[in-house]
Amino acid sequence: MFSKGTKRKFSDGDEEISAESLVGARVASSYSLQRQSLLDMSLIKLQLCHMLVEPNLCRSVLIANTVRQIQEEMTHDGSWHMVTEAFCNPGQSPSERLVATEVLCRSREQDAEPKLFSVISYEGCREEEVVADETLCSVSVSDTVSDVCLAGRMGQCWEKSELSGVERDEEALEDSSLGSGEDEEIDTEDEASTKSPKTTGQVFGTFEIKNGSPGPDSALEELFSDVDTSYYDLDTMLTGMQSAPKMGPYDLLDSLAPSHSSPTIVSTPKCRSDLNELDHIMEIIVGS
């Protein structure tokens, strides 16, 4: 946890140069690490609020401004350039990376909601996404962050990150105290382990409704309740972004059949909307 974002300089020592500069270097790299993790966290938040039905505009703007600030500072440092160069991971297949970055870059089809995430309007957009993607996978500031392997390992990874991310963002924290003496700024263990089926359901319920598909999807899901759609939802999210089609209610219906030839990777509990939400949406449909 860091208190201030003030940049700490290398101490050009009068004293022993080696020790000082070593400490200075450590401090500087620790700061960079912290800054990077803040950037990662912010991007996750932005991406998640992209998913929300009605993103809280004020929150989105503030997070986007923070991201911009970090990016500006990193650009001044020259570390931006370094970072993007450093992470040309050959192990990562280009298509996987694309998927991940597309997720971050996803703009909503409905233009009424603002495409304000200047993240996507930056010229350096691509690099930024790569950075976030790669660092999310490689920098283990916390377990949760490193679990956000957006590229490639969809299934469990994605869902786990989403769960913890969304759980952080949307659920009232079960462990709400700021962790006595914890160095990690993210409560990993609690969030990763105390997922309840209901929470999972809520998270995916959130996605279903907010994934550009209106109420009827949830209703349809109810109808096809014996079909395990958990893997499909992940699939929808990622592939839906690549091709960026708007998923209407009938698309879901159409694609339900073929998509379940593939075995589910995740053995998580079924994704279900919150029952109340479901009822409510049914009422709207039936009532109207």
Partner: protein
């Protein structure tokens, strides 16, 4: 001006002693479910006293409005303070679905504002994210009886049996309080409404969303005037949103709006139809020593309130409360730290989203004390005249009738003294976002997640 019919603060008259901290606050009542299992719909989202203080309205996430009324029976007795009891409950807003955007519109009541009373009925405005409604709350305690042509149950009498003329008379009945929607002001906001404010002219009011402010006439629902628009042509250039807006209490041409960048703009509607150019811009220069990546977020203003006398305004940002003199734009005249011990925790608070919590603030009737909420069900009373402050807690533990609230202390670090609570033990799920102060008396309403606490000044 506020008619001060009843003033119980010693310091007002004598000037010696008194003030928010010499006032001892006692528990009076708590409303809402006792169990810890909070139903989402019961989460209180707004609290507001009416202009006389006799009525106290709350709105919740489920779209309901509950109005409490102060009982007048015990007012003569100095020992006992009158209690607030449920007066009316109604469903103000229902969840809606925007088919065009495939978005659900929450029924949560964002704000309630009372209109000044003009006749026997009471009126209030309540709003969710998109629609504002004007509700009339009226009492009925008489009903007509003895119709000539109808039986008591409503059936028409056989015409042949009617031989005399009988005129119906009004007879008393059990009091019935009815709430009826008189106006619905819809379809004027693309973004989420965060504020409504009734003008002192009692004819118009403003509604503000993230990017625009509209001016309405209370009688006209199909039209509103856009008076502020900060939406950029290219939404990707958006860096600032409107967070709150309020009309000046006396000058019907003046209003202010606050932003997510920590600025407040005062606008004069006489200057032009579209108030995009502010008359005054209130902004405090940033303290360079406190600069961090979170500086902007914590400078975002969550609430702005004019003082009752109209000379000052108060703003609430994440860590502090600032009092501004309307004649001085470059810095506030007073700054109070609400929970400075959180400054070192900003990263965690960013991570769990608490840093985006929108705390409200309020003035007492004579503008000498301000109040705002914090975490762990703490709330803060900041005495301007005495330059002192106190932290109190709304909890079930201090719920005995007329139990005096004990000041709380938070230990920022180091050795924790007895009775202090350490920062790391604070419950960040228990936040007091909404508070209200009776316009004339020392009675306050404090909303925890799903309970409403009413505290009163200790009377000896």
């Amino acid at each position: 001006m506020w008619p001060v019919t009843k003033c119980n603060w010693r310091f007002v008259v004598s000037g010696a002693g008194g003030g928010g901290n010499d006032v001892q606050w006692c528990f009076s009542q708590v409303k809402g479910a006792i169990d810890d299992d909070v139903a989402e719909a019961d989460i209180i989202s707004t609290v507001e006293f009416n202009h006389s203080g006799e009525l106290l309205a709350t709105g919740d996430k489920g779209g309901r409005v509950v109005i409490f009324q102060q009982e007048t029976e015990n007012k003569s007795q100095s020992q006992f303070r009158s209690e607030y009891n449920v007066y009316s409950t109604f469903q103000s807003h229902e969840p809606e679905f925007d088919y065009l955007k495939s978005l659900e519109i929450e029924e949560k009541i964002n704000k309630i504002r009372w209109l000044p009373q003009k006749n026997a009925a009471q009126f209030l405005l309540s709003t969710n994210d998109k629609t504002i409604k004007l509700w009339k709350i009226s009492e009925r305690d008489k009903r007509p009886e003895g119709y000539n042509l109808k039986e008591e149950d409503g059936r028409y009498r056989d015409a042949a049996t009617i031989t005399t003329l009988r005129v119906p008379v009004f007879r008393p009945m059990d009091l019935m309080v009815e709430a009826s929607p008189r106006r619905v002001f819809a379809n004027a906001h693309t973004y989420h409404i965060n504020s409504i404010s009734v003008n002192s002219d009692n004819e118009t009011y403003l509604s503000a969303d993230d990017l625009r402010i509209n001016l309405w006439h209370l009688e006209i629902t199909d039209r509103s005037f856009n008076i502020v628009d900060i939406k950029p042509a290219n939404m990707e250039e958006l860096t600032e949103v409107i967070t709150a807006a309020e009309f000046h209490p006396h000058q019907c041409n003046t209003f202010v709006y606050s932003s997510s960048k920590g600025t407040i703009r005062l606008c004069d509607m006489r200057a032009s139809a579209l108030c995009d150019k502010h008359s005054k811009l209130f902004e405090e220069p940033e303290d360079p020593s406190n600069r961090s990546f979170f500086s902007e977020i914590i400078s975002s203003i969550s609430d702005v309130k004019f003082s009752h006398n109209g000379r000052y305004m108060m703003t609430r940002d994440y860590l502090s409360v600032k009092i501004w003199d309307l004649n001085m734009e470059n810095r506030p005249v007073e700054t109070y730290q609400v929970h400075e011990y959180l400054r070192s925790k900003l990263c965690s608070l960013y991570e769990n989203d608490c840093i985006f919590d929108k705390f409200e603030c309020c003035w007492n009737g004579n503008d000498s004390v301000v109040m705002t909420g914090s975490y762990n069900n703490f709330f803060r009373m900041l005495d301007r005249s005495q330059r002192r402050d106190v932290t109190l807690e709304a909890s079930r533990e201090s719920c005995k009738p007329r139990q005096v609230l004990k000041p709380r202390r938070v230990c920022a670090g180091g050795k924790r003294k007895k009775d202090e609570i350490s920062v790391d033990s604070l419950d960040f799920n228990k936040k007091i976002l909404h508070t209200a102060w009776h316009p004339q008396e020392n009675i306050i309403a404090v909303a925890t997640t799903n309970n409403l606490y009413i505290f009163q000044e200790k009377v000896n």
